[in-house]
Every structure is written in structure tokens, then in C-alpha cells.
Symmetry: C2
Subunit: 238 residues, 2 copies
């Protein structure tokens, strides 16, 4: 099998996003149409926080698996962005403030009190994926950021319009991410194009990105089940 040319490889990656990114998930549609109540918004914020707080963990694992100093020197920026650095409180702190504005205490989020099992499993699977796969597959899995800016922009507008009970100042995380996601995905795509040279490596990169899309969707499946299906019919196991 011949390796794909750069354009074709890039198109294969973008195709994964068009087909499998979580932007069209029914839970996101409900959220963006303003159809979630306060408790459901809080549940999303709390569950997504588990993903957020594991991002620097998976990025540190990726660093530890990457023998290329020039790659690590840029990748470490992601850890600084999420954990904070100097005067920047960082993305996790911004998410904690979003939680507070939505009515969740820092302890609610620190203790994973509202964490759904399906979300925990999906996020833990992501950390384990990056911990065990070649570093470049960890990079490929991060390329969901290629598709993130429009979703972030839509989400910000939806929150401002439909959920005005959340202080707009607490939406800083959503405002900060599009430019960082664009910068990071540009770096990630350049790495994947440079280091996945034969067809097998390229296909593993596509599979890594698909895996990442699936785990983002799995988080929303768990939320959808809990908020919609479960709320309508009652939990048969309780």
C-alpha cells in the first residue's frame, strides 16, 4: 500500500471529523437549542470537568512517551495552558469558575460527586490510550481540535442566549479555546503529517482520531441517557 500524499491524508483525517465529531450529537443539539434545565447543565459541566482535569495528565503522559525534545518543547505549552502558568489561571481554573457560576461548588467538582460511570470510563480510556500507544498516535488523537473552534463558538452563543442565569464572565473558558485549539491543531497536524510516513502509520493516526471522536461521543451518550431517556422512563435498575 502506498502512503497517502499529504492532501489525501489530511482529507482522511478531516473526513473522520465530519462523520464522527460530537458536534452533531443529540445532547449537544439539546444544549445549543436551550432545552436543558439548570440541573442538566450542571450535570454536563460536572461531567465535562472530569475530561478537562485529565487533559494535562494525558499531555504529561504524551510528553513522557516522546523522545523528541523539539516536540516536547512545544507540547508542554498545552500543560501550561490547562494547569495555568505565571499569571494565567489556566483552563481548569476557568472551568471551576464556570462550575461556580452554574451552581456547582469546587468540592462538587473535586470529588467527582456527579460523575457518570460512562464518562469516567471514556475519559480513563483516553488517558490509557495515550499512556500505552506511540506518542504520535496520542498527537493524532488530539486532532479533534481541528473541528473544535466552530463548536466552541456555537456553544458560547448558545450559553449567552439560552442560559443567561450563568454569568457571561464565567464563560471565559469557551472564549479562550478557539484560538488555542487552532494553534494546537496546526502543530498537531504538522506532526502527524511529518511522522506518520507509511500507510500503516497513517491509518493508525486516522484510527486514533476516530477513537477520540468516539470517546467524546460516549461522554454525551452517558449524559443523554441520564438526562433524557432515564428521565422519561425512569431507571429500571432503581
Amino acid at each position: 500500500m502506498q502512503p497517502w500524499e499529504s492532501d489525501e491524508f489530511t482529507e482522511q483525517l478531516r473526513q473522520v471529523g465530519r462523520q464522527h465529531y460530537h458536534d452533531k450529537h443529540p445532547f449537544h443539539r439539546l444544549m445549543n437549542e436551550g432545552r436543558l434545565d439548570r440541573e442538566q447543565i450542571r450535570l454536563w459541566v460536572a461531567n465535562r470537568f472530569y475530561y478537562q482535569k485529565n487533559i494535562p495528565i494525558k499531555d504529561a503522559l504524551l510528553l513522557a512517551r516522546c523522545p523528541l525534545r523539539e516536540v516536547r518543547r512545544r507540547w508542554v505549552q498545552r500543560i501550561l495552558d490547562h494547569d495555568g502558568w505565571g499569571d494565567d489561571p489556566g483552563g481548569i481554573e476557568k472551568w471551576l469558575r464556570l462550575g461556580e457560576a452554574a451552581g456547582l461548588s469546587r468540592e462538587d467538582l473535586a470529588t467527582d460527586r456527579l460523575l457518570l460511570p460512562g464518562v469516567r470510563f471514556a475519559v480513563d480510556a483516553y488517558v490509557q490510550f495515550v499512556a500505552s500507544r506511540p506518542w504520535i498516535e496520542g498527537v493524532a488523537s488530539s486532532l479533534t481540535e481541528l473541528f473544535a473552534p466552530p463548536l466552541m463558538t456555537e456553544r458560547l452563543a448558545a450559553f449567552e442566549k439560552h442560559y443567561p442565569w450563568i454569568d457571561p464572565g464565567a464563560l471565559a473558558y469557551f472564549r479562550s479555546r478557539p484560538s488555542l485549539a487552532a494553534r494546537d491543531s496546526e502543530h498537531g497536524l504538522a506532526l502527524v503529517l511529518a511522522y506518520c510516513r507509511n500507510r500503516e502509520e497513517q491509518e493508525r493516526a486516522v484510527a486514533a482520531l476516530r477513537f477520540k471522536c468516539d470517546l467524546l461521543c460516549a461522554q454525551l451518550d452517558a449524559l443523554y441517557y441520564h438526562c433524557v431517556v432515564n428521565a422519561e422512563v425512569g431507571d429500571p435498575f432503581l
Copy 2:
């Protein structure tokens, strides 16, 4: 068993350094007395490089194992110091320049061409220790830095005096480390005192520091065997 008070715990840690730190190892004595030839100096530089280049790997593993953001925010500085950040070329780059001044190419160091098995095993054991033990034991293992500044200062003077064929400008790594080691070991000691609360945790911290001293010595054992014993009597296996 009662936990040690801070002073007693600190003394237990310092006692490990007095008894087991590698400063008094015969190989260091030979080096500091100017009794190594160029080839032996190169061998030390090349083997120690394997340790140097694994430091950011083990620090990234420690980050990945630490759930405390405020700890990670400071610990990440060590990765920036070694890999470089912004205009700072970083400790690994400084060591590569030391290698060049000692007559080793970057490829010699990148390919581990001169790496002794005993050094590889010891360094890999350190990375594996940090990857598998609780993060605070990784912190405790870093406390050899409490004992590093005098060794660094003595080494710098020895190189300037006995090995003038190495450009003194290439000794920048040795000049940069004492102040960083003092800062880092102060942070590390504060963490160990704060997070090792019962006697069992305290004793595990002491054991982690002993383990680290042992692996620093094991690297020098391998060098001593290769440079001294082996050179005198010939290798019976060859």
C-alpha cells in the same frame, strides 16, 4: 509508630545523603583529582547524558501521576529547565555542548553509542520507579538535589583545573545547576514534609531517596568497572 517530627524527618533524609550520595564514589574522586584521561571523561559525559535526557521523561511521568494542580504548576518548571523554554536552550542542550567540547558529536549522544549497560539499567529503573510509585515518592527520590550544589561546585573547579582542554564556556550546565537544585530541592522537601504524614509514608520517602542514591552510585560503579578494573586486568569475557 509515631510519625517523625519535621526536624527528625528532615534529619533522616539528610542522613541518607551523608551516607549514600555519590559524591564520595571512587569514580568521582578520580575525576575530581584530574586522574581521568580524555577517553574516560568522554565516557562519563556520554553515560551521564543518558541520565540527563531521561530527566524530563521522569518529570513528565511524575506530573501525570500527580492529581494536585498547584504541585504540577511548579513541578513543570523542571521540564522547562531541562528541555528548554523560549530563549533558554535548556539543560539537555547545554550537556550536548559539553559533549561537543569534550569531543563527542551530537550523534554519539543521540544514538547512545557509548552507553554502558549498567548505566542504562540504572536510569531505566529510575524512570520505572517514578512511573509506578506514588507521585510523592518520585518527589522524595528527587531530593538528591539537596546534596548536589557542593558536588557541582567541586566538579566545576575540578574541570577548570584538570581538564583545560574542555572549553570553560562549555561548562555552562555545571554553572547553572546549583541555584536551580537549591530552588528545586527546597520545593521538593516542602512537599515531602507536607504530604508524607504518617510514619509509613515517611519511611517510604527515605527509602525512595536511598533508592535514588543507589542508582546514581550504580552509574558510577559501571563507569569505574569499565575505566579502572577492566582497563587494568582486561575483560575476561572478551
